[in-house]
Amino acid sequence: GALVYQYPRRTICKSGTSMRMECQAVGFQATSVAWYRQSPQKTFELIALSTVNSAIKYEQNFTQEKFPISHPNLSFSSMTVLNAYLEDRGLYLCGAKDSFSNERLFFGHGTKLSVL
């Protein structure tokens, strides 16, 4: 079956430092990877959508300079949160799909980011 492994599951970083999270797709080709953030008490906000052979598209309020994303092949994607501050706390999820899954995303378990 199709699975997405995301790591780390939890991380704590000092204010102003950076942390990187990674996603591995197993059992399918991740032609598109979407990164979401769920801030405390909120819903999932799309940060950016990465599609193979297309430029990565960032949502309003999110930038490449703050959340650089790498999607080098059809099984892997990573995102870094640069200069993390309190407002960056939350659960970060990657969701991936292939060309055939008709909009359904397979999600990892998420990376919970705490900022001290």
Binding site: Q6, S32, A34, Y36, K42, T43, F44, L46, L49, T51, S54, A55, K57, L91, L93, G95, N102, E103, R104, L105, F106, F107, G108, H109, G110, K112
Partner: protein, 116 residues
């Protein structure tokens, strides 16, 4: 622009009761609707989707949802809930994203609490 709204932030029922979680969407073309479940502190798990055809779609663990174009709704139902169904449920609509693919837009979520 496509949006999705979940009017109930919290629904409480007893084990064995039926439940309906409401979702309304704004229509902007080809519609793709789905439901996801998030257990406490974890990522998202896919429940079911509607794209075309039979408006009543079956999902995992006895869940079903009915698409209604006239009501712009995609409510989730279960005939007899179990305590393990306690979780946050997210409705999502797919929206066109700059020509390079679609993105999922999530509602604010409904917390379902099932009492023994």
């Amino acid at each position: 622009t496509q949006t999705v709204s979940q009017s109930d932030a919290h629904v409480t029922v007893f084990e064995g009761d039926s439940v309906e979680l409401r979702c309304n969407y704004s229509y902007g073309g080809s519609i793709y609707l789905s439901w996801y479940i998030q257990h406490h502190g974890r990522g998202l798990q896919f429940l079911l989707k509607y794209y075309s055809g039979n408006p009543v779609v079956q999902g995992v663990n006895g869940f079903e949802a009915e698409f209604s174009k006239s009501d712009s709704s995609f409510h989730l139902r279960k005939a007899s809930v179990h305590w393990s169904d306690s979780a946050v449920y997210f409705c999502a609509v797919s929206a066109r994203y700059g020509g390079s693919g679609n993105k999922l837009i999530f509602g604010t979520g409904t917390l379902l609490s099932v009492k023994p």
